[in-house]
Amino acid sequence: MDWGFIFERTFSTMIGPEVVIYALAALGLNIHFGYTGLLNFGHVAFMAAGAYGLGVSVYYFHWNFWIGLGMAMVYSIVLALILGIPTLRLRADYLGLVTIAASETIRITVRSRVMKPITGGAEGISEFSKPFYDLSPFDLGKFYKFGPFRYLGRDLWVLVVGWTLLILLTLMVQQVMRAPWGRALRAIREDEDAARSLGKNAYAFKIQSLLFGGAIGAVAGVVQVVQKGSIQADGFNPVITFTIWMILIIGGPARPWSPIAGSMIYWSLIIFVENVLRQLSPQTRETLESTIKLSDINIGQMRYIFVGLGLLLLARYRPQGIFGSREEMALDDR
């Protein structure tokens, strides 16, 4: 077994593009769920809003890439308002229903044949990100290696920009959550009526929370499609939403750095398990294939089983997540 290769892959993943994208998405969800208590089960819709805000601007309107980035934000704002205005006056569960339905509605609509001229339909949109890569100081096709990390120049450029964005946005979240604005959000999460009785406009705060978290979700979507170089409607499916939830729970909700930690743990576990399984000796592979049908294809599924097992252990031994406090969690039962 080539442990050197396994660790190189695992370490490279640990700060790789997926970690950045999912940490950004989870950072947005953390504002919604962790700090405000909003049950957003369609967070992937905000990623899609960002992706198509950029994609449609370049592909359909032939606008320039940088205007497309602005439109990504506009789309996320529009989506947050559409989702929030009718539901946020109601009980928390209604937002949950509406967001999961909206995220699927958006995916099915943009991939439909009718929308093909605008969104590229099922084939999606590609070749929109050149202006971004033109700015790269790295040779796009060359591999760069430092310590245990190894990246293609193209990915390295995404990583430099992605991590800068991620850290700046995390610091921004940390700042606003320490401020009275964040205190009001937490109060609304704890008891909306109490917050209202003390003069806080709970509805306005919840809309702001949805807007802010949604915009960060859109940033995640933009980084994702720019890194992939294409926009595929089916990439924005509910599994992505629940992966983001998992990452947030692993890290511990309502802590600014937990999305990053959760994303790192989730993705390095996935990649580690996959590579270990692939690197097993031929005899072991053969035995596993004949007994539990562990073929090359099934390895992809197998790694989720291990992540599931990891989550079970987390729920049993550290239910508050990596950064959460057990003492705080215990207050739920009172």
Partner: protein, 274 residues
């Protein structure tokens, strides 16, 4: 003096903080509240009592805009407040507490109090990004909060989660938090419910001190000893309407009130109609 007012339902007062006119509220076919006229004198403690199901809490919710009125008008210091959102009432000087105490469990006691301050510039998202904009106001809020913690003997709990407090401490916390808004009117929904007798006296003292500061206090209560002890004026509700008001002594001997609580025939022998 409040004692000089005539003890009749709907009597007008010299300095009313609240004036309620023909307010009604129905749930389906049930008329929960139907108040013709009520004035609440400012600067005194008014108790709102009545048997179970009299509509006290609904009336309370209507006054504080936690529920909307079907018809009628409510005036706060002479200004109509029908249709004003509940969070804006706090800014107009009226704040409420809840029967089931709403301590914000996963926030520290000091954060609970700091939340209560009104007009915080740091509650604006864009301003919250720059600490220097709101830090001096935050310091001022914190010192006010600390003073209130001291007054309500909660200083030792300052940095604990509110969820770790006892029932009585939560009542104190809620009262202190309400005071952070510097209200003119405090609406206390059953402030003594679930409080152990040892703490009741201290809570009563705190309620009296609110009046002594010139604030108007309205509270819903079941315990008659409490009502007699601290209230200056008592309003009695039954079946959604105001059936009596007066000083505690008047109310004690009021036949209408006794009938409402105990039934019209309470002092007759049980007998078969022949």
């Amino acid at each position: 003096m409040i004692a000089n007012y005539s003890p009749t339902p709907g009597v007008s007062k010299n300095n009313p903080a609240l004036v309620v006119k023909s307010v009604s509220k129905s749930f389906g076919g049930l008329k929960a509240v139907d108040v013709q006229h009520l004035e609440i004198e400012s600067g005194v403690i008014t108790a709102l009592i009545g048997p179970n199901g009299a509509g006290k809490t609904t009336f309370f919710n209507l006054l504080t805009a936690f529920d909307s009125i079907d018809s009628g008008s409510i005036q706060l210091f002479g200004k109509d407040i029908a249709g004003v959102a509940s969070h804006n009432l706090a800014k107009k000087g009226m704040v409420r507490t809840f029967q089931l105490t709403k301590a914000l469990s996963k926030m520290t006691v000091i954060d609970n109090l700091k939340l209560g301050a009104l007009r915080q510039s740091g509650e604006n998202f864009f301003k919250s990004l720059f600490t220097p904009i709101w830090s001096s106001q935050e310091r001022e809020i914190e010192s006010r909060a600390d003073a209130l913690l001291d007054r309500f003997n909660l200083s030792h709990m300052r940095d604990e989660f509110a969820g770790t407090m006892s029932g009585g401490q939560r009542k104190l916390l809620e009262m202190a938090r309400a005071l952070m808004t510097d209200p003119q009117i405090l609406m206390l929904d059953e402030p003594m419910a679930g409080v152990n007798p040892a703490l009741t006296q201290s809570l009563l003292g705190h309620v009296k001190s609110l009046r002594d500061e010139g604030r108007t206090v309205i509270f819903v209560e079941h315990n008659m000893d409490v009502v007699r002890d601290i209230s200056d004026w008592v309003v009695v509700m039954a079946e959604g309407a105001i059936i009596a008001e007066g000083t505690p002594d008047h109310i004690r001997s009021n036949q209408v009130v006794i009938d409402a609580y105990l039934g019209v025939h309470h002092d007759r022998e049980l007998s078969h109609d022949v």
